[in-house]
């Protein structure tokens, strides 16, 4: 299984763009540092079946009602998205 960075897990509360708090240890950790094994991945567009696209930073949300389909980007957090479908 691929290693997760802190900012890709749900056991992390972002303080700012560079760092956040590990909610299990209460430590301040770097956003891009590797999270310990077993941390729960946070839903993001890149993990959603509705997301298509090959570009590193851009893609499309196939679940959108817009015409054409609206943009999406892989890194967007989707915990509140009602259309999110985990891969």
């Amino acid at each position: 299984m691929e290693k997760l960075t802190y900012r890709d897990t749900r056991n992390y509360a972002p303080i700012d763009v560079t760092k956040g708090m590990d909610l299990l240890t209460r430590e301040i950790v770097m956003a891009d540092a590797e999270a310990p094994e077993g941390y729960e991945p946070i839903p993001k567009c890149k993990l959603c079946t509705n997301f298509t696209g090959t570009d590193t930073f851009m893609g499309t949300c196939e679940a959108s009602m817009n015409e054409p389909k609206f943009i999406a980007y892989p890194d967007m957090v989707a915990t509140t998205c009602e259309m999110y479908q985990a891969m």
Binding site: N11, A13, P14, I15, D16, V17, T18, K19, M21, L23, L24, R26, I28, D32, D55, F57, M58, S64, M65, N66, F70, I71, A72, Y73, P74, D75, M76, V77, T79, T80, C81
Partner: protein, 904 residues
């Protein structure tokens, strides 16, 4: 016989029953204020101190996605649906130890751009709009606003973080999407649409030149269209969100299909109520998402105490998502939630919570009586609120954020004032607000003390003790003066003296119209004050008086850029009266054209970008079915004309009058040459200091200008109780204040003056050549509107305060006087009393506002050299308190130079 000591002390009212060889009286011992916040607060504060201003794409993404889906919808519904989607999709972030939660964006200091207002500036890097934007003037403001290089700002990109607007960091992963979103708003934003139509105003070319040459700083309609107002928490507190939806549904049934005599906008009420329901549902989703997150964290949590706190938080949020709060902490969470929701709806700075000590008092009183909470727990919550409010960032263009706000968002809390019946409104909770301001000194919320002779002495003394901690607050604002202004300005909209008593400070020191509403809690009724007026500090933003004088002297041509800003007047200006008259002509031309163009910008804003959430909070929108754009607010005459550099202008006119027109020591041409030659000095930008004291001579100056410069500096100056200079101020005010009534806002009301510089005196000074008072090119103007120019008030504070009150302050919405006092001057209890005496006297003389900066200039210099050691040093800038390290260099230099009084 000579008097006895005892009788002398008795005369002075000092109760001293001394015995021979007795102790010094107790009243003289210093009262120590502990300055440590509660441990839980300290932990969260430590996190805040370490956090960078971070921008997120989430809110604009969902807003844009939904907005673009409904392109033929009624505008207010379209906006409501976009807001609902954005609120519903905001990711909750909660930190352990928090009691009050919910934030603007998923970071501690999170915020986000609103491309629907203006998409131009963060597109700049990649886009052809950049050149277009440059031509429109706003980018040149950006160049003149330097941020302090420290604190939580992200002035440069690093790693995976991109700096935008010189302040915010955004993740690289989000930038391409942000630029894509921004492009979707090209030609549609308030900025772009407004610009399309403002070009139809005759004189538009002049407006562009005025903006480009920094005669005026900032457009009004798309920068910070709302704010500088007092929010009103009444409806959510009284009815709860479900209750408001119920009202809206009932009203929909009443108004559907009916004009009720209003053929223009009567029918719109249906859509407005429908929009209100959409937005509230979005806010409810947002609150419930936080409740879910708290419940999720509870499940993960192992510490029993924290687990319980998460559970209580989840229950609290679930309750307030639907119902009116029942307890102090529920009410506190409710107002925090409502506050952030309003801030997320629009680009807003200066959304003042207002008199929260009086708004929350019913809950406080009943909880304390029932033993549900202790005063210590209340102080802890008030301390947490300070962390919470200080964390609020506002995303606007760098010019606005740095140049005006110094990164500050002005969530001013007002204390004191009068109640509905004209008695002192001070209550026990307000003492605790002051205490928390000392135990957790942070820039927000800045405290404004609404001074009145009726306020209790111990409350005022406590305020003085808080000032002495160096926190920079409270500032003092004069209730009777404000009431006089309010009745004059809003009388035709129904303002009377009882209603005027509800006033509070919006923004940093804008006098805002408010009203009383009856709050019910457990069968008891309390009349609470809250905002009832539109935003202030909208209309014509900061016009630089010294710059207009420069243009008057030089026949309409800007001496920095060489551009012809105004049509040349081609007059010889051979009398002082001619100079004065020409200045006023240019002034009126400037204000006139800016009124028209800004009216168009605001009109575009109100068509597509109207406030829905903020509107439903404000009386009387829910009652009359009209939002802000259809004059639903009770008070709408809030647009103003802002001036900057008043005292630099007054001193310059005094110098010209004396040296050129009366003593005839030199002629006007010689003076102009000296100004162009900067009196033989180098430019402030060359030496990177913007304080007059630090300026350096040019090597080739051969001291030719020394004598003239010395004479200019010695010529009569405001602030010395010298009628020569003070009468020029008086004449100006007597022209300026009534002149504002000659301009009409888009809402059909006449305007009024706003005389605060915020931080523009630095940026605007930076763009202005030397002035006849001896101020050198590029250096800051005198700050505020009534502070003396640094170092020129030589006769002490009494003379300064006398000069400041030569004119009637109630003619203006505000005016501002900052005094820096050396800590040694106000030592001990006696010092606090002297400071109160000084303040009280100024208020009695009709002064509207005074604030004190209690910091040794040596400390400030050290902090400039070693910012890393002074992360938590706070200073009072101009109407607000800010961390030293986050203030731009120009204003830092000016603060160091500001005259320090060593004895009061």
């Amino acid at each position: 016989m000579a008097k006895t000591l005892k009788s002398v002390l008795a005369d002075a009212g000092i109760p001293m029953d001394f015995e021979s060889g007795g102790q010094a009286p107790e009243t003289l011992t210093d009262r120590e204020i502990t300055r440590e916040p509660h441990p839980r607060v300290q932990k969260l504060k430590d996190i805040f101190m370490e956090s960078l201003s971070s921008a997120s794409n989430e809110f604009p993404y969902w807003y844009t996605r939904e907005y673009m889906l409904h392109d033929s919808e009624v505008p207010v519904i379209r906006r409501a649906k976009a807001l609902k989607s954005a609120f519903s999709h905001s990711t909750p972030v909660i930190f352990p130890g928090e009691l009050l939660t919910m934030r603007k964006a998923p970071y501690v200091r999170g915020s986000f751009p609103m491309p629907w207002l203006s998409e131009g500036f963060y597109m700049a890097k990649e886009d052809e709009f950049y050149q277009e934007a440059l031509k429109r003037g706003s980018a040149s403001v950006d160049e003149h606003s330097k941020f302090g290089q420290g604190g939580g700002n992200v002035p440069q990109s690093f790693g995976k973080v991109i700096s935008i607007a010189g302040k915010f960091g955004i993740r690289q992963e989000e930038v391409p999407a942000l630029l894509k979103l921004a492009k979707l708003w090209f030609g549609k934003s308030v900025d772009d649409l407004g610009n399309k139509y403002e070009q139809m105003v005759p004189g538009y070319e002049t407006k562009e030149k005025i903006m480009r040459n920094i005669v005026c700083m900032f457009d009004s309609g798309f920068t910070l269209p709302q704010g500088r107002e007092v929010i009103n928490y009444y409806y959510p507190l009284e009815y709860g969100f479900d209750g408001i939806i119920k009202i809206a549904k009932e009203m929909k049934a009443k108004v559907a299909g009916r004009a009720d005599g209003d053929g223009m906008v009567g029918m719109n009420r249906l859509y407005n109520y429908e929009a209100v329901i959409h937005v509230i549902e979005g806010v409810q989703n947002w609150i419930l998402n936080y409740a879910k997150e708290a419940a999720r964290l509870e499940a993960l949590e192992t510490c029993a105490r924290q687990k319980k706190e998460y559970r209580e938080m989840a229950e609290r949020l679930e309750w307030i998502a639907h119902n009116p709060p029942r307890t102090f902490i529920e009410a506190f969470q409710m107002i925090e939630t409502v506050h952030i929701a309003a801030l997320n709806e629009d680009a807003i700075s200066g959304l003042a919570p207002g008199r929260i000590g009086q708004v929350l008092y019913p809950y406080f009183e009943q909880d304390i009586a029932a033993g549900r909470i202790t005063e210590d727990e209340v102080i802890e919550l008030l301390e947490l609120d300070r962390v919470y409010k200080t964390s609020i960032d506002c995303f606007a263009s760098v010019g606005v954020v740095g140049g005006v706000l110094s990164g500050n968002t002005f969530n001013t809390v007002s204390i004191g004032g009068l109640d509905k019946n004209g008695r002192s409104a001070v209550n026990r909770l307000e003492y605790l607000i002051l205490e928390a301001g000392a135990t957790n000194a942070m820039p927000q919320s800045t405290l404004a003390l609404l001074y009145d002779e009726k306020l209790p002495e111990d409350f005022l003394m406590l305020a003085m003790e808080v000032i002495k901690t160096g926190a920079g607050y409270p500032a003092f604002m004069n209730t009777p003066i404000a009431q006089e202004f309010l009745v004059n300005q809003y009388g035709h909209e129904g303002m009377d003296s009882e209603e005027a008593r509800a006033w509070a400070i919006g923004g940093c020191l804008e006098t805002s119209p408010c009203t009383w509403k009856p709050l019910h809690l457990n069968g008891r009724e309390y009349w609470i004050p809250g905002g009832a007026g539109q935003p202030t500090s909208v209309g014509v933003h900061f016009v630089s008086m010294p710059k207009v004088l420069e243009l008057t002297l030089f026949n309409g041509i800007d001496q920095n850029t060489g551009e012809k800003v105004y049509e040349p007047h081609n007059r010889s200006l051979d009398t002082y009266e001619a100079l004065e008259e020409q200045f006023k002509k240019y002034w009126k031309e400037t204000v006139g054209v800016l009124t028209l163009t800004n009216n168009i910008q605001h009109d575009i804003w109100r068509k597509n970008n109207m406030a829905i959430f903020s509107s439903l909070l404000k009386p009387d929108c829910l009652d009359n079915g009209h939002l802000i754009n259809e004059l639903g607010y009770r008070y709408n005459a809030t647009f103003n004309v802002e001036s900057t550099g008043t005292i630099t202008f007054v001193n310059s006119m005094a110098a010209l009058k004396k040296m050129v027109y009366e003593d005839r020591e030199l002629n006007l041409e010689e003076m102009k040459t000296a100004l162009k030659e900067n009196f033989g000095f180098r430019d402030a930008h060359e030496i990177n200091s913007f304080s007059l004291a630090d300026q350096e001579k040019r090597d080739d100056s051969d001291n030719r200008w020394d004598k003239l410069h010395f004479k200019a500096l010695q010529s009569p100056k405001y602030g010395n109780d010298d009628h020569y200079a003070d009468s020029i101020l008086l004449e100006w005010e007597n022209f300026f204040c009534p002149d504002c009534k000659n301009y009409e806002s888009l809402y059909g009301h006449t305007m009024y003056p706003c005389q605060i510089s915020v931080s523009t005196h630095g940026a605007m000074g930076s763009a202005t050549i030397a002035s006849p008072d001896g101020r050198l090119s590029g250096t800051t103007f005198a700050d505020a509107s009534l502070s003396a120019y640094p170092g020129t008030d030589k006769n002490g504070p009494f003379a300064l305060l006398n000069s400041a009150t030569v004119w009637d302050h109630s003619m203006s919405q505000n005016c501002q006087l900052n005094i820096k006092v050396h800590p040694s001057a106000i030592n001990g209890h006696e010092g606090a009393k002297k400071l109160l005496d000084l303040t009280r006297a100024y208020m009695r003389k009709g002064g509207f506002h005074i604030q004190y900066n209690i910091v040794d200039s040596k400390v400030l210099k050290a902090a400039q050299e070693h910012p890393e050691n002074y992360r938590d040093l706070m200073v009072r800038v101009a109407g607000f308190t800010q961390y030293w390290v986050e203030i731009g260099k120009g204003v830092q230099d000016e603060l160091i130079a500001r005259t320090e009084y060593e004895g009061v």
